[in-house]
Symmetry: C2
Subunit: 408 residues, 2 copies
Amino acid sequence: MADASQFLIPRGFRFGAIKAGLKKSGRPDFALIVADAPAAAAAAFTANRVIAAPLILDKQHLRATGSRVRLAAINAGNANCAAGEAGLAAARATCAAAAQLFHCLPEEVFPSSTGVIGVPLPVEKLIAVLPALAESLGSGFDNFQQVAQAILTTDTVEKTSFARLEIPTPAGPTQEVRIAALCKGSGMIHPQLVPHATMLVYILTDAAVEPPILDAYLRPSIDLSFNRISVDGDTSTNDTVLLLASGAGGATIGPNNAAFADALTQVCTSLARQMVADGEGITHVVELRIEGAANDADALRIAKAIAHSPLVKTAWAGADPNWGRLIAAIGYSGALIDPNRIDIDFGVLPICRDGARAPSFDESAAHAYIAQPQFSISIHLHQGPGSCTFWTTDLTVQYIHINADYST
Amino acid sequence: MADASQFLIPRGFRFGAIKAGLKKSGRPDFALIVADAPAAAAAAFTANRVIAAPLILDKQHLRATGSRVRLAAINAGNANCAAGEAGLAAARATCAAAAQLFHCLPEEVFPSSTGVIGVPLPVEKLIAVLPALAESLGSGFDNFQQVAQAILTTDTVEKTSFARLEIPTPAGPTQEVRIAALCKGSGMIHPQLVPHATMLVYILTDAAVEPPILDAYLRPSIDLSFNRISVDGDTSTNDTVLLLASGAGGATIGPNNAAFADALTQVCTSLARQMVADGEGITHVVELRIEGAANDADALRIAKAIAHSPLVKTAWAGADPNWGRLIAAIGYSGALIDPNRIDIDFGVLPICRDGARAPSFDESAAHAYIAQPQFSISIHLHQGPGSCTFWTTDLTVQYIHINADYST
């Protein structure tokens, strides 16, 4: 494709995917993102205390290289988690094979895995197809999309986001900065990244950004995006966000560049919302706007209690304006509240005032509003300046089918 | 009925139920438990910060009377919660009408409500049928069962438990103590009672026990029973446990009576397990045995993370021995763990050893074991002496139907 989409892809990277035989579907399941030269990196990982083998290596590798990454090697279909020493050995073997092929250090390889937990990773399948995968790499939009598809598991659509910036230079002419990102995630989605994923996110830019500066951009963007979503409240053992800066575009980004920070946050927020919208079995995406909490932490507690309440989520599935379930979740969230000062609105519809049914409550209108595939719920606590925006989903029969289907 | 069941019911109480018209089904929905004279009381209430109107009154009343209760007035079909001043006024009106009828103080009335939150309670319906209800009271087993039925909401069966004790007396002959308890609870079940409940539990004994001593018996019994169950993780605004001692049986129970404490705990545990077994849409009851945690609080954290994980609960629904989901929940529980020292057994089947698949793991056997309607999962952390036993359920398509069905 020689169309405009070609100019969305940051310079300095190549992409490819192949079938290694891990997915039962037989679809491509092993992907590479390769920087032409070691790229500056910033990364964040799951807060789960059970951490998959590739994440253990990733942390070691970033320390060893001073946060430089030559390539990310990503398999879907097996999480390589809870596999003991064999799991670490499998991840190391992948890195060694890739390092040999790309003439880099094993520590410059960033492995990722997603899929079933507790089943040994058949690493020989990955190593066997690695040479063919390396030969297939390309820098085009199609190559990028191949990676976005190969890393999916229960996801139904690939998730990508792009941004372009013109950075002013002292000399006069502007310089172009491209940001492209891809991710997967549909179930076991409640990322809690430390400083924070079976969410896997790869964000690429062709700006030159030193690793500590890159890290300073990544943290706040994550806090406003991936750490503000939940499908099912299950925090994965494999969640990973990797941001790579190749410098191949010519522009250099220093600290406190508001335009770059904004673009990065927008890309992250877009991906976060795409994951929620592709949540397992979901039929409604809900934006929760919590305001007037004692502090931001309390606002987040309330959002999470609501987002994780099966009773609230099933009410949404049925478009049931049963706001009493919201009240109950607010009450057990642990946040400081005054039950008699809670206001709730569905969109612009007043639902609850001062902790009781709003005088103008209109059940039919409320039902019609939340029957929509996307809707927002605003909650005001009148306790202080704390607020947050959070994206979550309903809980449907289809979610149960996706996760309960089992055949021996 | 003049059969042996008559001798299960503690002396000094009368029971009755009637149709007040709150339940859409038209079934009885208003019940009374009346002590012949004010009974010593101990009670526990939900930790939810949104507290239903009757619970607010209950606390005031117990303080005002020094924990003496003449009667409990319980309606199902409306929670009288999030109803503002009107909710409190409705609860007060019920108490006033009952007090007049039974020639007691309004503060000696203990109101309870369960049902939908946020809808005004039509208290005039309760007051209208109160005289007929008062006339229908009886002290028999059938009367007791009528209360157990009337307080149900989404429950499918009444839940009762009984115990009889022979207490030695200094004089020689033993004295009989009867304990009878009834409860409701099926959804919004994750009681966190303070010093701990839409679980409503009424426990009656005909022993004479002073209120502070009664309270000292109730607390540990609750901690080992109602605070160790979860259907959906939603802590209700209305959960209540009330223990009444009429003294009409003749025996007096002082502090530290191990036999009474054991009997009470057994009755509470039986009711707790009955609620889980009648959980909304459930097909499996799971006993979690957590051992080797750093401390008991950590053991409970792990049990709750597992019990509240939609991915774990849906795997159980499908009899899927996907223990990786257990590992993930353990990891994000917040408890201190070593991922490489986790052992998991399904019944007597080794599933996970040292954080990885047990060498003798047999997927077919594991599947067959958890296909049973009741099964146990043991988890050993090898961190310390902490342990707990916890009862929970799977999450099924039927749960979604029960809670998502809505018609305008």
